[in-house]
Amino acid sequence: MKIDKNCRYMKTHEWVRVVGDLATAGITDYAQSQLSDVVYVELPEVGDAFDKGEVFAVVESAKTAADVYMPISGKITEVNEALSSPQLVNDDPFGEGWFVQFTPSDLSELDALLTPQEYQEHVAQEEGGH
């Protein structure tokens, strides 16, 4: 399982990476492996604003459809149009398979998210529970 050291994580398997004033979010490598082949990603529109924890996207795989939650509050500035080839989410979840870019409204919300280390432990725990 890949982990990106520059991201913070949600227990629901979303990642967020903040560079300067801009944040990028997507789903983790573990999430894509659990979903299996992603067949469709429903993205929000540029200009939409979401609070942390709100559903901002839906990811559909051959197996299921899952809601994707906003890691920290913000306003969408760009969506990844390349996800019309949804396989990118499976191939490169932390890179080409990103979902949205947004302007965070409160960076202190990051503190409540899991660190890469904590996320790794969380996944190990979930796996153990299975």
Binding site: V39, Y40, E42, P44, E45, V55, E60, S61, T64, A65, A66, D67
Partner: protein, 445 residues
């Protein structure tokens, strides 16, 4: 799999677990006076006697083997070729359900796929689902779908007053509890102009009165709807598409319709079949099930439930549709019907309906006291203004073995004493002439 009933020891174990002595203990909450009521039933009859009794009761129905029918208004008496019954009666097919492990039932999936493909060809759309309960629920689901296509941002549904009154009533059962507004049909000539808050405009072609708008006129309407950023939903009669322009050609985004005319008998009002097809851009918001064609790991053709993820059994807390099951058997009948008729057969049915309806309309319009209403071309239904209340006329017709038309005054107050008559390929010239004669007599009474 054999059916394995509970054994006495199973029951004893379950009762012991619940701390009950016998099954009667489980019903102690029911007041004793109503716990085991004495039913005053007649004495038992033999199978032979009961069949006789039921037969004599069913013979009191005004069935279509013994009556000429000129009633349409959403449910249509069309010929059903025998092959339809033979196909849907096969035990491999004979179920109302899509299987829950669908891919193991390749034959069922292929039949659904073919149904979907024919509905697409008929309507001029890219994708069709399989299926809804009836035309009315298809229309309501299409409206909700249009709202979802706008990501819930557009909250207004405009519906033409010439859409079937029961369909509009059904649509209104879907919207309470949401802040969706259904409007446009308050008056016979309401404003149907879409605005920035409009999710969709719903029209019917041929409309409830049987009338057809010109395809060019509908194309302009579609352009206006699209310019406002809304979707055009067209409710249609699938038989009419054998003869007239498919909605896809004049710009419809979602096409719905009652599928009963396609190989399904009138059945006293159900089960019927809801058709729903749409353009590719709306496909992801389409409710229900969609079967797709694919290849297996060895490259062989196969079929899968493609959009099952949209079904309630996966994301039910966020489901956007009421559809939990479908009308697989009625859809199969529609598929078998379309396959049996083919392009030319369907066209011939539509032509027969058209010509017979026009013959009937001309004859009726010539009767003093009766007038043909409406200035547009019509398909198989038309409106006549009557010299008497339609209910009285229909009573008189029924005495002569004729099922008369639909009383429009019950839905449209300004159409009191107006009747909607329907003529299909099933009505013979003799039947039509008898109807005309009977209507002439009615005016003399």
């Amino acid at each position: 799999m054999s059916y394995i009933p509970h054994t006495d020891s199973d029951r004893a174990a379950m009762l012991a677990e619940m701390g009950a002595e016998d099954i009667g203990d489980l019903f102690l909450d029911v007041p004793e006076s109503v716990r085991y009521p004495e039913l005053k039933l007649p004495l038992p009859l033999s199978e032979m006697e009961i069949l006789g009794e039921l037969r004599s009761m069913s013979e009191e129905n005004a069935d279509l083997d013994h009556h000429a029918c000129f009633l349409g208004a959403g449910a249509y008496n069309h010929f059903v070729p025998s092959v339809v019954g033979h196909i849907i009666g096969r035990s491999e097919f004979y179920t109302a359900y899509t299987p829950y492990q669908p891919e193991i039932s390749q034959g069922t999936l292929q039949a659904i796929f073919e149904y979907q493909s024919m509905v697409c060809a008929l309507t001029g759309m890219d994708a069709a689902n399989a299926s809804h309960y009836d035309g009315a629920t298809s229309l309501a689901e299409a409206a909700i779908m249009a709202v979802n296509v706008s990501r819930g941002k557009r909250r207004k549904i405009i519906v033409s007053p010439t859409v079937h009154p029961e369909y509009r009533a059904t649509l209104r059962t879907y919207t309470p509890g949401s802040d969706l507004a259904v409007t446009g049909d308050e008056e016979p000539t309401s404003n149907l102009q879409p605005d920035g808050d409009t999710a969709c405009l719903i029209i019917q072609q041929p409309d409830f009165f049987g009338q057809l708008a010109e395809a060019s006129e509908l194309k302009q309407l579609a352009e206006a709807v699209h310019a406002a950023g809304a979707l055009l939903i067209v409710n249609t009669d699938p038989i009419s598409l054998g003869l007239f322009t498919p909605p896809g050609e004049y710009g419809a985004d979602i096409v719905v319709g009652e599928g009963q005319p396609l190989g399904n008998p009138l059945n006293f009002g159900g089960p019927y079949l809801g058709l729903l097809a749409c353009r590719e851009k709306c496909m992801r918001k389409m409710p229900g099930r969609l079967v797709g064609e694919t290849v297996d790991t060895e490259g062989r053709r196969g079929f899968v439930l493609t959009l099952a993820a949209r079904e309630q059994h996966i994301r039910r807390e966020r489901a956007t549709s009421n559809i939990c099951t479908n009308q697989a058997l009625c859809a199969l009948a529609a598929g078998a019907y379309l396959a049996a008729m083919g392009k030319s057969g369907l066209r011939q049915v539509a032509k027969l309906c058209y010509h017979k309806a026009h013959y009937a309309a001309t004859q009726i319009a010539a009767i003093p006291g009766f007038d043909l209403v409406g200035d547009k071309p019509f398909f198989k239904e038309f409106v006549v203004r009557c010299p008497k209340p339609p209910s009285e006329i229909n009573d008189a017709l029924l005495e002569q073995g004729i099922i008369g038309g639909y009383d429009l005054g019950q839905d449209y107050p300004h159409l009191e004493n107006h009747m909607l008559l329907c003529v299909t390929e099933m009505n013979t010239r003799t039947e039509i002439d008898c109807l005309v004669e009977a209507l002439e007599e009615v005016t003399h009474d």
